[in-house]
Amino acid sequence: MILGVVWYVLVGVLIAGYALLDGFDLGVGILYPFIARSDNERAALRTSIGPVWDGNEVWLLTAGGALFAAFPAVYATVFSGFYLAMMLVLFCLIFRAVSLEYGGKSGRSRGWDLAFFLGSAVAALLLGVALGNIVRGIPIGANGEFSGHFFDLLNPLTLVIGLTGLAMIVVHGASWVCLKTEGALRKRAAAARSGAHWVFLLLVVVATLSAALIVPSQARTVVTNPVGWVAILVLVIGLVAARFAMVRQRDGLAFIGSAFGILGLVGIAAVGNYPALVPALDTPERSLTIANSHSSHLTLLAMLIITCIALPLVLGYTALVYRAFWGKVRA
């Protein structure tokens, strides 16, 4: 059981890692048609994420694999229950990957540019809506399977959370572009960053109020748990720091602020749901919790050893590669 808790945290860490890293390159994809006005600028945006986006996306695959290994019942119920949504995410990721590598010289390939934008935007929105459903809870039958329909997944709370995630990713992407570019492109990115940040702030407030009304028990868990307060603090620091940094034109701090915002939100969701991974709507006893869906002790232990060996290596060489590509790209 203690290993089950460890894995609950680790899956959360992997999801946060995905949101932090792939978050900014998804954001760049969403901003791409709006802030880049010339072939050179489009090229600069692609180049800014070119060396790293593929590694960033692996965080999603790792989170999926870890969920499969540590909580097979959750993986099975969520992926089959969200069938059409997951397939749509999948096609988005395929189009994005191929358009990033095959995109050709910008301006010559409107189709690839569109695929890059749509792939990024729809994937970001859907992943946010999926997270919204995990927070709200889904209908679960007596057999532990999803017992609703596709349209059950779309409702006010999940859409607000989805839009909040989208705004968060746009802020994060714009912060990245500010760090990596210069001149007119950076200026436009900074304007987008500021505007999106206000929208994000508004949505965080709306999402918080909706959650307090619609899922009061999760909201109560967050404010009664000290870890919940840490997450709230991280979110607030992130929001304030990012705004402060934008006013002072300090792009590094703005990116860190945006990263804190992401960590805070993922943390709040994780604390609110604990110990459930997927709460069951209206039938709490059917919720998929750590206790009723974790893998065997041996599997969790083996996975933990694997992670303790691999994750430091991954973090080490990822840092090395980010350092190698440090600095502005040329437009």
Partner: protein, 467 residues
């Protein structure tokens, strides 16, 4: 059509498609590595061009492999939820380990290869090439571990209708893991060698890049021959494991209806499932018995040892296995002729041989696909040998209509991707190893301002433009 059959068709299509690109990545990776090593040692412009040529073929293929690989990781949960619940305790770990140990490695350092030339130290760049190729080989190991556990489960016990891990190493290195891993990796190297040979012949015939072409052709023939000859040796090892662990599959491969001693290794035959016999049989007497039991008169279990509902579809298993085997023999013979011509110094001038060699390039891919079809269909009706049947493993909540819709989308999108990939590959080969991949990041930091952008797109720009 029922949902399980549709889910099977979707899985077969998406995994069969994915596995067109994996062998080309793994195979071309070896040639990229050799070219990279050469460039690292000589630092000549020609060798740099040769390396960049292989990098381009590798990365064009790799990205499709990555994109279509995500489908597979999702598919277990989306389409095979009951399977995932049953095997999650064992099957999930290698998938997670694959991501942690292999995907991160290959993806991160491919970024260095595509964008880091001149930006990172020479040695860093060279080591990155090794890490990308090594990552791909590790990835293959983890996924073969997962698949092999379906074939020959070990290190587990069944509790409350779920397989539960009892011994990590026994499950990971179950009886069929290693032979199947080597069999797979060597087959991709054969495929890479035939691809390299085809490219080389294309240039030789047009008298372009002659030096590069000759060197590549010699490497391809020697390396391809070594790997092709290794295949039956590994195959023999694997056959013994199949004969012991999955005797019904072996009986289906060889068309053995009744348990017999003194079983021959079938070279040719027409399977007749109605009369339960093989017509027009050409076999090496006693060889199968000898392979499986160590004695030419050893007993080989026949299909009659299990009820019919535990037998795989016989024609499909039998035929795909035969196609794979004949093609394997053909590769050895063809490359032996190449070696003979090389020794007699006629290799580069024998146009007829070169033509046959060039047009044989797709055949290893066909052999690989049929090999997988044989091993996966041969396991039926089981999804996990002896433990869980395929018909009981699909997602119960996904309606057939949704599977049809997504299957149609897969067919359209994948067909489109194939056309795009093929055209890019063709263009890369026609252009040849004289041009370079623009990185967007400057080759030398000092010249950064002079570099025009456009990167990530692998666009080809002549070397002179850069400096």
């Amino acid at each position: 059509m029922d949902a399980v059959l549709l889910a099977r068709i979707q899985f077969a299509f998406t995994v069969g498609y994915h596995f067109l690109f994996v062998p080309i990545s793994l195979g071309s990776g070896v040639f990229m590595l050799l070219a990279g090593r050469r460039w690292y040692k000589t630092q000549s412009e020609n060798d740099k061009a040769g390396y960049l040529f292989w990098l381009k073929l590798f990365s064009l293929t790799f990205v499709i492999g990555v994109a279509t690989g995500i489908t597979m990781e999702f598919a277990f949960g989306t389409n095979w939820a009951t399977y995932s619940r049953f095997v999650g305790d064992i099957f999930g770990a290698p998938l997670a380990a694959e991501a942690l140990f292999a995907f991160f490695l290959e993806s991160t350092f491919l970024g260095v290869l595509l964008f880091g030339r001149g930006r990172v130290p020479r040695r860093f760049y060279y080591v990155s090439t090794w890490l990308v190729v090594g990552g791909a080989l590790l990835s293959a190991l983890w996924i073969i571990i997962a698949n092999s556990w379906q074939q020959t489960p070990a290190g587990y016990t069944v509790e409350n209708g779920r397989a539960v891990l009892t011994h990590f190493w026994a499950a990971a290195f179950n009886p069929s893991t290693l032979p199947r891993y080597f069999h797979t990796v060597f087959s991709t190297w054969v495929a890479g060698s035939f691809l390299a040979a085809a490219v080389a012949v294309y240039y030789l015939k047009r008298k372009r890049h002659t030096e590069f072409a000759k060197r590549t052709l010699v490497t391809a023939i020697i390396f391809g021959l070594v790997c092709s000859v290794a295949m039956p040796v590994i195959g023999d090892w694997q056959a013994r494991v199949v004969g012991k662990e999955q005797p019904v599959k072996m009986a289906a491969y060889e068309g053995i209806f009744k348990t017999e001693s003194d079983a021959g290794l079938l070279l040719f035959g027409v399977l007749d499932t109605k009369d339960q016999t093989v017509h027009a049989k050409v076999a090496i007497p006693g060889l199968l018995s000898w392979t499986l039991t160590g004695s030419t008169s050893g007993t080989v279990q026949g299909l009659d040892s299990v009820p019919q509902d535990q037998q795989p579809p016989l024609q499909a298993t039998f035929a795909s296995y035969r196609i794979m085997m004949w093609l394997g023999i053909y590769f050895i013979l063809l490359l032996l002729v190449g070696l003979y011509l090389l020794i007699r110094k006629k290799l580069f001038t024998d146009r007829r041989y070169l033509t046959v060699l060039m047009w044989s390039a797709p055949l290893p891919m066909i052999a690989i696909e049929f090999g997988w079809i044989a091993t996966e269909i041969g396991r039926q009706p089981w999804i996990v040998q002896g433990l869980l049947k395929t018909k009981d493993a699909a997602s119960s909540v996904v309606p057939a209509g949704q599977i049809v819709a997504t299957l149609a989308l897969f067919v359209v999108v994948y067909a489109l991707l194939f056309v795009v990939w093929f055209r890019k590959m063709r263009k890369a080969v026609v252009t040849g190893p004289q041009e370079t991949i623009e990185t967007g990041y400057s080759d030398t930091p000092a010249a950064a301002g002079a570099v025009a952008g456009a990167a990530g797109d692998l666009a080809a720009v002549p070397e002179e433009v850069k400096q």
